[in-house]
Amino acid sequence: MNNGFSILELIIALALTLTILSIVITNVSETSIISKKITSKQDVLESVFHTVDTIKTDLTKCGMRLQEASKYFNFPLFEHSEKSFKVIYGISNEIFQTDYFKGEKRIDVNKNECFRKGKPVLVYNIENDVFEFNEIKKSENGKIILLKNLENDYLKNSIIVVLKQINYKLYSKQNILKRKTGKGYFQPLIENVTDFYIKLFPESNSVLYRIEVNNKEQIRGYIFLINTV
């Protein structure tokens, strides 16, 4: 009798163990649920912050280095439809140090990392009222080779701008807002987007955007397109 536990002792020990275990399990599961909720909310907030930052950065850059050309040659820097928009800006530019003529493809540029293979470019000269869009086929040691022959003569001091085009589109069925740079594919930017709205106010050169996530969080912003003024 002295070597074992009595029934009463075992029952008490079992009851205590079960009570502690049930408290622990309840607490753990509750904490886990709360933790998941907080984490998912934080994830949503962080992805919203990231989205807003990305949109703001792109809109702020919209029209950069293209003000003069877009005004003179009348091409849009910002376009939008109900659930999508497109911005275009220049990431770098160079001034021609010599004349280039119709049919030429090889152009000297200063050593500039932005002038890379596959990048779209705009070549223009306001004085001579000529412009064209082209693409860099090859880039090597301060020289670029264009994909297409120049269609016009470009005298010294003409300008070549490396372009960047960014598209945003809401995939309504998937509730995903996606972003595409240049020729790339649309990449998801934020999920669970239940509403997306964008509008340009040309008089004030500003854009209003609204993103709604999970039918709850709604972010609105009014951005002045500083690089189109």
Partner: protein, 446 residues
């Protein structure tokens, strides 16, 4: 009893570890999130601070350069746009540095200068930095009047902006409008000599009579309409005396001009830049090219257009009058689009000259219309411009020696198709044409 103690300790330790782990992970997550949020907010605020300072600086820069009298500088691209006039600027711990470069493009009588100001705004508190490229465009030299949107060439004792405000002159695109008593060159004789294909430098009735095959004397030729045609080229139409009306109209790709003088109607129809010219004079070859110069040595009682547009897109009409010209309707180009159209198809010039034998010659242009008026033309007047229209939109340019405006004039600059710089231009003049910000972007230093 020992077994009982061991069981309790293990469960307790497990419980403590579990609770601590969950607590710590929640805490860490919250701390990281708070830090991210704080860092993001801080960066936004600091970048915004630099941004605001830079914008404010650019605004002041713009104000300063447009208030400066560039005529005081021989070469403004060097003498004015430099670090002496625009030194480093510090405000709210933000340092802004200017770096100037320029490109000069020589033209026949003037040069176009593009000054690039690369501004670098840095914060002394952190490594955030904004770079901006501002572009200033200057035209310097003997500038054709048609390159300046609005130029009233007279002395005024009020600031330019006040003059524009008082006279209801507006520019939607914020173009630099001028009121300035500067020296100008009105080479009317040269223009008329070239238009009448008269060799030499002296414009006189003797030369004109010789050209049109009249008996040579110093007397003016008889009143009437004369067509100057040489080798299948109709150079100009010369009208001696006043005309009642000139009516412009279009039909498909044919430009029609009807001149009404002393109750008689004289009509010409032609295709611009092509070999088609029809008129009342059967001796003129129909397969002639018309150079679109019409010279009225007198007053024009009324310039009008038929229908919605009176001018073809290919037209390049130069209408010169020695006396007063009255515009009675809108003068519009077909398919005119303010975003796409770059040059005007009509140049109206009014100036007295050696052939205009008037005691007190007045070369004025008056817009005398009732409704909203739209004029697509470059206007050069060696006299006064009067607007009686309530609302006049001028797409082109205006040069005049005086102004009387009874309504609102809105200017939208377009250069002329006609190269007027050979005859009508400023003397050595510096015109600040444009200022704009080409780029503002963040720069990241590693």
């Amino acid at each position: 009893m020992k077994m009982k103690k061991k069981g309790n300790i293990i469960i307790s330790i497990l419980f403590i570890i579990l609770v601590s782990f969950i607590g710590l992970s929640l805490l860490t997550h919250t701390i990281i999130h708070t830090k991210i949020t704080r860092a993001r907010t801080k960066k936004i605020l600091e970048t915004d601070n630099i941004h605001q300072n830079l914008i404010q600086y650019l605004h002041n820069f713009r104000e300063k350069i447009f208030q400066e009298n560039l005529q005081n500088f021989k070469n403004p691209e060097i003498d004015y746009f430099n670090n002496t006039n625009f030194p480093d600027f510090k405000n709210n711990n933000i340092l802004i540095k200017n770096s100037f470069k320029y490109i000069s493009t020589p033209k026949k009588y003037y040069k176009k200068i593009k000054v690039n100001d690369n501004l670098l705004a840095t914060s002394e508190k952190n490594s955030l930095c904004l770079s901006s490229n501002a572009i200033i465009k200057i035209i310097s030299g003997k500038i054709p009047f048609t390159l300046i949107p609005f130029f009233i060439n007279k002395e005024v004792d009020i600031p330019k902006d006040v003059f524009m405000q008082e006279n209801n002159i507006k520019s939607k695109k914020h173009e630099n409008l001028l009121v300035n008593n500067s020296k100008t060159e009105f080479n009317v004789s040269e223009f008329l000599l070239n238009s009448l294909k008269i060799k030499g430098n002296i414009l006189s009735w003797r030369n004109v009579r010789e050209k049109f095959g009249f008996e040579i004397s110093d007397e003016p030729i008889d009143e009437g309409i004369y067509i100057l045609s040489e080798d299948d080229v109709v150079e100009s139409i010369f009208v001696q005396g006043n005309v009642e009306k000139i009516i412009f109209s279009i039909q498909d790709n044919i430009q029609i001009i009807q001149i009404i003088k002393e109750g008689n109607s004289y009509e010409i129809s032609y295709t611009p830049n092509d070999t088609y010219f029809m008129c009342w004079d059967n001796t003129i070859d129909e397969q002639s090219i018309f150079k679109e110069k019409i010279i009225i040595n007198g007053n024009i009682g009324s310039i009008e257009q038929k229908d919605e547009a009176g001018f073809l897109e290919d037209s390049n009409i130069k209408l010169f009058s020695s006396g007063t010209t009255i515009i009675k309707t809108s003068l519009k180009t077909k398919n005119f689009d303010s975003k796409k159209t770059k040059l005007t198809n009509l140049t109206l010039i009014s100036s007295f000259n050696a052939l205009y034998n008037q005691a007190n010659p007045k070369s004025n242009i008056i817009v005398d219309t009732q409704n909203k008026t739209e004029i697509h033309a470059s206007i050069i007047i060696n006299g006064k411009f009067t607007n009686k229209s309530q609302d006049l939109k001028l797409s082109g340019s205006l040069f005049a020696k005086d102004l009387e405006n009874k309504g609102i004039i809105e200017i939208e600059h377009l250069n002329s198709k006609f190269d007027s710089g050979n005859y009508y231009r400023t003397k050595d003049f510096k015109y600040l044409k444009e200022f704009f910000i080409d780029s503002i972007e963040e720069i990241y230093y590693e």
